[in-house]
Amino acid sequence: MSSELIHRLHFAFTITFHYLFPQLTMGLGLLIVILKSVALKKQSAEWNHAARFWGKIFAINFVFGVVTGIPMEFEFGTNWARFSNVSGGVIGQPLAMEGVFSFFLESAFLGLFLYGEKRISQTMHWFASLMVFLGSWISGFFIIVTDAWMQHPVAYERMADGKFEVLSFWQLLLNPWGLLQYAHNMTGAVVTGSFVMAAVGAFYLLEGRQIQYGRMFVKVGVIAGTVASIVIIFPTGDLHGKYVARHQPTAIAAMEGLFRSTSGAGIVLMGQPNEETGEIDNPLVVNNVLSFLIYGTTKAEVQGLDRVPREDWPNALPLLYYAYHIMAGLGTWFVLVMVVSAFLLWRGRLYSARWALWAVLLSFPLPYIANTAGWMTAELGRQPWLIYGLMRTSEGYSSTVSASNGLFTLIGFMGLYTLLGLLFTVLIYNEISHGPGERPAVKEAISAD
């Protein structure tokens, strides 16, 4: 296998595993603030228990997010040295800002939120939860800014030695691509958080225990999930898609499987892209919809892959196509499940509608798949570029790190992450089995004089 492929897989594998955790903590961070706010407003012990229970789930996810996140910051240098050398002046900036502005905030206040409840007032505890939420969302912002610059480089110049230099700090941070991607991505995190919360609630209700908490979790999860499932499609997904179409027409063409430029292009609901023939095999197409979605008129011409030379096509085209279709298909399912559940909730029938609770419960892995597929769409769509239009992926990996060394550490990570995954499952299973409000937290057993 080539070094380039190994280094790509190395980064792709470690970041895919990593992002399973932050997508929950970012979504849950918001929901915990909501639980904590209600607790404070109602002076309710029950809502406080709920916040503490989700705090524990958050904490476990946070630990896994932190330990799997550290490798990401290292891998820019270890596996992508040539890229880092030229781009450090630009993307090193948001990455360093993530550490300085987000991680310090997040770690400080999470410690306070988890271990310090007895040492501070309830208002202060609420404030700590707010800071943890903010920290995690700021962290997400800087990562998106980094990725957005690779997708859509702005505000840079190239110096004599080939390095990129920032021309405008604010233009870098407020890259329109980044703002749209941020809105879409964070909504995705809220989808994950709400589905998980609703699913845990549904589990308790189906089990017939922790009933009051089961209802609370289903209610909060379904309300937040309904809003997020709609917002992720419209306006965030819609706007982001239009922006991609304008600036990365090749990526859109590949995502949609549009080999030939077409006026009144249809949308492919199903079918397999065939790179050899340049056709979609077994297609199920709705006419004119793609043109309408991108340009707002059914007649507009959408640029196909035929407009660009073959070497500039995304080099994992079928994977990109399927990732995008999986994301979009699941997004539709989320709206369906959540809107139906919200309707039942409004009519007061959700807590006893076992079929709906089952649907909510079984749906919890799907947002993880959709978020992962969404990121695959974004990053595979950028190929064959590492920095879009400026630097190819083949020019960026560490040339001194051989394919076999890369493979060795990739396998090492796979083994270690398998163990982490098992450990994570056991711990989460334990917490959910114990449920909220039943036992004092072990950590609280130790307190200062």
């Binding site: 630990v63 490798p71 450090g88 310090f104 040492r119």
Partner: protein, 347 residues
């Protein structure tokens, strides 16, 4: 000028990391030997529980700062130290998971396993960090294109083609191990009471003697391996205050620990780490990564630096952000000040 500023800012972040994460790494090493009961172990781990993660953030923030201020150094060093860095990553993962999750597990054997893992990963990390610094001082076989790749070891001698581990870097690793274990012991004396506190206090004495011997050995070895280290000192003789500071702070640790003034002893240990690192940085300046293959291949400050606009904008947000960060740290440490309780607790 920008180069000078950012050199010392990155150095400050490294010192911040070593001083802060240093004590929780040391506690990780020590708890293997020091504690006798589950309650003591819990007290020991609670003394770092709310803060270790924040301490480790200094490594990430420092790494990020290095990345954006000196991208050439970051790219060359991280890919060249590929193998040891991957091991460091695995150790950081195991360590973080084991310390955080022990309290979520109620089976004694699994807990003991996680405690052992936490101790061993902490111990290996201190050695790796010390060896890493020694590698930077000794120099690496930089090629003409500014990159290199180091094997884990070659013939155990510093030379043109050294490995990560040779006799010199092993000394560096041992200095870090002992210095941070001592640092951790002093933290325990601050944060715990009774028998455990006294035991931590007693263990400082042997550690102190070993550290003194290793410090002297490492200083001699450094001058031996890289004689140019002293150039900056002779050019600006007042900077010999740094080695004087090393000796004085080490003496301070001894004196204050003997008088049972734990906080002062701990602060002296912080100063010791500061002077050791500052001494190394000053010995290197303005080189960032010396080449064993000839001084013309050294990665120097001017060669590694980012563009001027990047750096001046960075200075604004860095200052602002770090002031905030220091604020959080003061706040959190003040919330958790005082000794942790040794009561068996409710659970």
């Amino acid at each position: 000028m920008m180069g000078l500023i950012w050199f010392w800012l990155v150095a400050v972040m490294i010192v911040g990391y070593v001083v802060l994460d240093g004590f929780d790494l040391g506690v990780g090493v020590l708890h293997l030997f020091l504690v006798r009961t589950e309650a003591e172990r819990r007290a020991t781990l609670s003394s770092i529980g709310p803060v270790w993660d924040g301490n480790e953030v200094w490594l990430l923030a420092g790494g990020g700062t290095l990345y954006f201020a000196f991208p050439t150094l970051y790219a060359s060093a991280f890919s060249g130290f590929y193998l040891p860095l991957m091991i460091v990553l695995w150790l950081l993962i195991l360590r973080g998971v084991s310390v955080e999750l022990r309290n979520h597990i109620e089976v004694g054997v699994w807990r003991s396993l996680l405690d052992g893992l936490f101790g061993v990963s902490s111990l290996l990390l201190t050695i790796f960090f010390g060896a890493a610094l020694a590698n930077v001082i000794r120099g690496v076989p930089l090629q003409a294109d500014g990159y290199f790749f180091l094997p884990l070891w070659t013939n155990w001698k510093p030379g043109v083609h050294p490995g990560i581990l040779d006799w010199y870097t092993v000394i560096g690793g041992l200095v870090a191990l002992v210095a941070l274990t001592l640092h951790g012991a002093l933290w325990i004396t601050i944060k715990t009471s009774n028998e455990l506190c006294r035991r931590a206090q007693r263990i400082v004495t042997p550690l102190w003697f070993v550290l003194l011997a290793l410090t002297i050995a490492s200083l001699i070895a450094t001058v031996n391996v890289r004689p140019q280290t002293l150039d900056n000192y002779f050019m600006h003789p007042f900077t010999f205050i740094i080695p004087v500071g090393v000796v004085a702070s080490l003496a301070g640790v001894w004196i204050f620990n003997g008088k049972l003034q734990s906080i002062r002893a701990f602060l002296c240990s912080c100063l010791y780490l500061f002077f050791m690192l500052a001494g190394a940085c000053w010995g290197l300046y303005p080189t960032l990564l010396p080449a064993s293959t000839g001084p013309d291949r050294d990665i120097t400050l001017s060669r590694a630096l980012s563009g001027p606009h990047t750096l001046s904008v960075g200075l604004v947000w860095w200052t602002f952000g770090m002031l905030l960060a220091v604020g959080y740290f003061v706040f959190v440490y003040s919330r958790f000040k005082g000794k942790v309780d040794l009561q068996p607790g409710k659970h």
